[in-house]
C-alpha cells in the first residue's frame, strides 16, 4: 500500500495527464487512426529536440532553457541552405552540418555564462535564451542581406534585406519522413526518422557509459566531490551545454523538415518551451530524466495538444479557449515541476530532526 502511494506521489504529473487525456480524447470525437497518425507525426517531429535536454539534466544543470540557442543555430542553417537552393536529403544533411559550428559557439557562450551563475543555472539559461533571441533577430532582420548575402525573394523580406516571418522548406517537405516510410492501417510510419531518433537514444545510452558521461553524472550530483576527485568541473559542464546545443540544432532541422516551414522569429522559443513541458509531463524532474520520460511525455503532452482546441470549443463554444488552455497547461506543468523540485530539496533537510526525536524516545523506553 505504502509503495502504491509512493509510486503515485512520484508520478503525479504523468498520471494527471493520463486522466486528463482519457477524458478529453473521447470528447474530441477524433478517430483512432487520426489520433495515432497525429501523435506519430508529433513524436517524430519533437522527440529529437526533447532528447537534447537530457544531457544537461545529467550534468546537474537543470532544465536547459538555453536549448533555444541550438534551435536558432538550426534555423540559421536552414535559411542559408534554402537560399542556396539545395533540396532533399542533401539539404537536410548540409543544414545539420552547418548548424554545428554555430551551435558549438552558442553552447560555449551559454556554458561559460552558466559557470558564472552556479545554482542559478535555470533562470540564467532562460535569460540567455531571451538575450540571444535579440542577437538572432538582429542577425535575421538586418544582417541577412547586407552582410550575409541572401538571393532568394521567397526568403527575403520585400524591403530588400532581412528574412521573412515564415521560411518555407516546401521543397524539402518531409523528405526524411517519407524515406522508407510505409503505412499500417492508415498510419504512416516514417521509418528513417524513427531510425534517427533510435540512433540518438542509443547514443545517449552509450554516452552515459563513457568516462565523460560518468564525469557529468558525478559533477551533476556533487560539484565539490567531483572537483576533489580531479574532475574538471567547469569544462565538463561546458561540454554538456555544447552537446545539448548541437543536438538541439539537429533536432530543429528535423522539426522543420517535418513541418516544412517555420516562423523565423518565434519558432525557437515555442519549441524550447514545449520540449521542456513535454519532458516534465513524461515524469522527469529538474534533476532526473530518462529516455522513457521523453517518449511518455511527448505522447501525453501532444495528445492533449491535439485535442485541446476541439474540446475547448465543444465545452465552451469558443475556439480560443482551447488554444489558451494548452498554453496554460504547458506553463503550469513547468511551474509545478519547478515547485515540486524546490519543495523536495527542503524536505530532505527537515527529516533529520524527526530521526533524533525518535532515537531519544527509543532510549527512554
Amino acid at each position: 500500500m505504502k509503495n502504491i502511494i509512493e509510486f503515485l506521489k512520484k508520478n503525479i504529473v504523468p498520471i494527471m495527464f493520463i486522466i486528463i487525456c482519457s477524458i478529453c480524447v473521447p470528447i474530441s470525437g477524433f478517430s483512432v487512426t487520426y489520433m495515432i497518425n497525429e501523435v506519430m507525426t508529433r513524436l517524430t517531429r519533437n522527440a529529437f529536440l526533447i532528447l537534447s535536454l537530457l544531457i544537461p539534466i545529467m550534468a546537474g544543470m537543470g532544465l536547459n532553457f538555453g536549448m533555444t540557442l541550438g534551435a536558432m543555430a538550426g534555423e540559421i542553417a536552414i535559411v542559408l541552405v534554402s537560399d542556396w537552393q539545395i533540396w532533399g536529403i542533401p539539404a537536410i544533411v548540409l543544414a545539420c552540418i552547418f548548424s554545428i559550428p554555430i551551435s558549438i559557439l552558442l553552447g560555449l557562450f551559454c556554458g561559460k555564462m552558466l559557470n558564472m551563475a552556479k545554482s542559478r543555472e535555470m533562470v540564467t539559461s532562460y535569460i540567455i535564451s531571451f538575450f540571444m533571441n535579440g542577437i538572432y533577430m538582429l542577425l535575421m532582420l538586418y544582417a541577412m542581406g547586407p552582410i550575409i548575402p541572401i538571393k532568394h525573394t521567397s526568403i527575403k523580406l520585400p524591403r530588400g534585406y532581412g528574412i521573412r516571418n515564415t521560411v518555407s522548406m516546401l521543397n524539402n517537405r518531409q523528405c526524411i519522413d517519407n524515406a522508407l516510410a510505409f503505412s499500417v492501417g492508415g498510419v504512416k510510419i516514417p521509418v528513417l526518422t524513427l531510425l534517427i531518433i533510435a540512433a540518438m537514444c542509443l547514443f545517449i545510452i552509450w554516452f552515459r557509459k563513457t568516462k565523460l558521461g560518468q564525469d557529468m553524472r558525478a559533477v551533476g550530483q556533487d560539484m565539490e566531490v567531483a572537483r576533489s576527485a580531479g574532475i574538471d568541473v567547469e569544462k565538463t559542464r561546458i561540454i554538456a551545454m555544447v552537446i545539448s546545443t548541437v543536438m538541439a540544432g539537429f533536432g530543429m532541422v528535423l522539426y522543420v523538415q517535418n513541418l516544412s516551414s517555420f516562423s523565423t522569429y518565434s519558432s525557437h522559443s515555442n519549441v524550447g518551451m514545449f520540449a521542456i513541458a513535454a519532458l516534465l509531463v513524461g515524469g522527469a524532474s529538474v534533476d532526473k530524466a530518462s529516455i522513457g520520460n521523453v517518449f511518455l511525455g511527448v505522447i501525453l503532452f501532444h495528445t492533449l495538444f491535439i485535442v485541446a482546441p476541439t474540446v475547448g470549443t465543444k465545452i465552451t463554444g469558443d475556439s480560443m479557449v482551447g488554444e489558451y488552455f494548452r498554453v496554460f497547461i504547458s506553463y503550469a506543468v513547468i511551474t509545478i515541476a519547478l515547485i515540486m523540485y524546490e519543495i523536495k530539496k527542503r524536505q530532505q533537510k527537515s527529516n533529520a530532526g524527526k530521526l533524533l526525536a525518535e532515537a531519544q524516545n527509543k532510549e527512554e523506553q
Partner: protein
C-alpha cells in the same frame, strides 16, 4: 629513487602561522613503513593544520605556506595540491564524506580513476569518450574491499548506505590506489558503531602489515592504545608527547592533551552560590544542528552564575544554545524563570529577555552589508521597540536615527571597537571588532540571560581578553546570568564558575572551574561518538 634506509615520512621543523597567529611550532614527526601513528590533542592544538600541510591542501599555500621541510620516501617534497600528495602515495579520509550520493560504492571507489575501454569514437574525439570497463571496475573495487577486510556491498548506492559503510567506502577508495604508502584517517570512527569501529581497527592492522603507514587522528584514546605503535600528542601547536605506544597509557595521554600549569589559570570566580535559584532548566533537549547534534541534554543554570559549556568539536556543545534559541530544529523542554519556553521560536526566547551571541558571526551574527548602527540596534528595535519614534499616536513606528547613533557610539566607546564611524559597514571590520559588535548587539537588549557561543573564536589576543572582560563585567555589575560555550577549556576555566562538559550530545558532567584539567579532559572523551 626510493631510499630504503630513510624513513617513509619525515616532517622536520614544521611551522605555520595564520595572519601572524602562530599555530604550529617546530613540529617533528618521523614515520616508517607500516607504522601506525596515533595523533591526538584538543581542538585547536594544530592536528588538522598539520595534516592539511602534509596533504598539500590549497588553503595552506593561500595563507602563506609553511616553514620547515617534509621528506617522503626519502625525497624532499612540497605538495602544491592534494593531487600531488595523492600521486606521491598519500591518501586521506576526511571527516566530511567526499562521496557522490547517487553512485554505487564501486563507482565512488574508482571515481575519476575508472578503468576504460577504447573505442572508435574515442580515437577521434579523445579519451573522455572511452567507455567504462565495468567488469574491471567491479574487480578492482572488490579487491580494495577485500584489502580493507570489512565487507561492504560494492553495488549499493551511497545514499542508501548506513553512515559507517560510507566511511568504509572512502577507506576502500584510498586502498584501491595502487601506490598508497601512507593513509591519513581523520577521526574515522566518529560515525561508526562499536563493531564497525573494531572492524576498522582490524583493517588498520592489516594495512600496516602490508607496509602501509597510517596516521590515525582520533579522540578515542582506547583505540589508539589498541592499534597504534606510536603516539603523538599535540597541544597549542607543539608536540608535547612523542612516544611508543607501549610506553604510555590513556591517563598519561589525557594529561598531556589538556595538562597545563594549573596554577597559572587566573580564575576570578567566587564559585557558584549553590543556594541560588535555578533560572533555566533544560530537560531532554535534542537539537538537529548538522555537525553539532545534541542528543539528550539536561542541565540546570543557576541565577547569577557564569556557566561554561565545553567539549570537543562536533560533540554537540554548540547545538545547545542554537537549539534553545530556535535556530535549529529542537525538542525537549526548557523552563526559564518558572515558565516553559516554546522551542523553535527565536522570538519567544528573546521576549523572555534571553540574548544570544552566535558562534557564526558572519552567517548569523551580523548584517554584513549594513551599518554598525543597524547591527547593534536592530534586535532591540524589533523586540523591545527601542530606538523608535512614535508618530500619529503610535500608528507609525519611525526609526529614530539619532537614538540609534547614540547607542552605537556608546558601545563603540565602551568596547573599544575600531571603526571609522558608526556608519561603517559591518563587513569592513576585523574579526575581533565584528565580535564586539555582536556583543554590543546583545547588550543593547539588556538581557537577563545571555548565551555567548564561542565568543573568542578566531580573534586576536587583545580582543579576546576584552570580550571576556566585558562578559564578566555584565555578569558582576548587572547580575546577568551568562552561559559561555567554548572549545577552549582554559578560557572557560578563567571566566566561569562551573563548567559542563558535553560529550556525545549529552552532558558528561559538571565540575567547578577549579577542578584540574585532567578531570575535564576525561569527561570530554568519556562519551565521544
Amino acid at each position: 629513487m626510493a631510499n630504503n634506509n630513510a624513513p617513509l615520512l619525515e616532517m622536520k621543523n614544521i611551522q605555520k602561522s595564520f595572519y601572524g597567529n602562530q599555530v604550529l611550532n617546530d613540529i617533528n614527526i618521523t614515520l616508517n613503513e607500516g607504522d601506525v601513528l596515533g595523533l591526538c590533542g584538543e581542538n585547536g592544538a594544530g592536528k588538522t593544520t598539520l595534516m592539511k600541510i602534509l596533504f598539500g591542501m590549497e588553503e595552506i599555500a593561500e595563507t602563506g605556506g609553511y616553514g620547515g621541510e617534509i621528506c617522503f620516501n626519502g625525497e624532499k617534497v612540497d605538495f602544491k595540491s592534494p593531487f600531488d600528495a595523492l600521486n606521491a602515495g598519500i591518501g586521506m579520509v576526511h571527516q566530511e564524506f567526499s562521496l557522490i550520493p547517487g553512485f554505487t560504492a564501486t563507482e565512488n571507489i574508482l571515481l575519476n580513476r575508472e578503468p576504460l575501454k577504447r573505442n572508435v569514437i574515442s580515437e577521434v574525439f579523445g579519451d573522455r569518450l572511452n567507455t567504462l570497463n565495468y567488469n574491471e571496475m567491479t574487480g578492482r573495487a572488490e579487491n580494495a574491499i577485500e584489502k580493507m577486510g570489512f565487507k561492504i556491498d560494492p553495488k549499493m548506492v551511497i545514499a542508501d548506505m548506513p553512515v559507517g559503510h560510507k566511511q568504509f567506502t572512502e577507506i576502500a577508495r584510498e586502498l584501491s590506489k595502487e601506490n598508497l604508502r601512507l593513509l591519513i584517517l581523520d577521526e574515522p570512527t566518529a560515525v561508526l558503531t562499536e563493531s564497525e569501529a573494531d572492524a576498522l581497527l582490524q583493517s588498520i592492522k592489516s594495512m600496516s602489515e602490508r607496509g602501509v603507514a597510517v596516521i590515525f587522528v582520533t579522540h578515542r584514546l582506547e583505540e589508539i592504545m589498541t592499534v597504534c605503535n606510536k603516539v603523538v600528542v599535540m597541544r597549542d601547536g607543539l608536540v608535547v608527547m612523542d612516544t611508543r605506544a607501549e610506553d604510555t597509557d590513556v591517563k598519561k595521554i589525557t594529561k598531556a592533551m589538556v595538562g597545563r600549569d594549573v596554577e597559572s589559570v587566573d580564575n576570578k570566580s567566587v564559585g557558584t552560590d549553590e543556594t541560588a535559584e535555578t533560572i533555566m532548566s533544560i530537560k531532554n533537549l535534542w537539537v538537529d544542528m548538522p555537525g553539532e547534534t545534541v542528543r539528550n541534554v539536561s542541565l540546570d543554570v543557576k541565577k547569577g552564575e557564569i556557566l561554561g559549556i565545553g567539549g570537543l568539536a562536533g560533540q554537540g556543545k554548540l547545538g545547545v544554545p542554537n537549539g534553545i534559541m530556535g535556530l535549529y530544529e529542537a525538542g525537549g523542554t526548557v523552563v526559564f524563570k518558572g515558565n516553559e519556553i516554546p522551542l523553535n521560536s527565536p522570538r519567544k526566547c528573546l521576549d523572555s529577555n534571553i540574548a544570544f551571541v552566535s558562534e557564526d558571526r558572519r552567517g548569523v551574527g551580523l548584517l554584513l552589508d549594513e551599518t554598525l548602527e543597524w547591527n547593534i540596534a536592530f534586535p532591540a528595535m524589533q523586540i523591545q521597540n527601542k530606538f523608535l519614534k512614535k508618530l500619529f499616536g503610535g500608528l507609525i513606528k519611525w526609526r529614530d536615527e539619532k537614538a540609534i547613533k547614540e547607542v552605537t557610539d556608546k558601545y563603540i566607546d565602551e568596547l573599544q571597537i575600531k571603526c571609522t564611524s558608526s556608519k561603517q559597514k559591518a563587513k569592513e571590520l576585523s574579526g575581533g571588532n565584528q565580535q564586539k559588535i555582536c556583543l554590543a548587539k546583545s547588550f543593547a537588549l539588556e538581557p537577563e540571560f545571555l548565551f555567548a557561543s564561542e565568543p573568542t573564536r578566531g580573534i586576536d589576543v587583545g580582543a579576546k581578553s576584552l570580550v571576556l572582560e566585558a562578559l564578566r563585567k555584565l555578569n558582576k555589575e548587572k547580575g546577568v546570568t551568562v552561559v559561555v560555550i567554548s572549545s577552549e577549556l582554559e578560557e572557560l576555566r578563567g571566566v566561569c564558575d562551573r563548567i559542563a562538559i558535553v560529550s556525545g550530545g549529552e552532558v558528561a558532567g559538571i565540575l567547578p572551574a577549579s577542578k584540574s584539567s585532567e578531570e575535564f579532559g576525561q569527561l570530554m572523551v568519556s562519551k565521544v561518538i
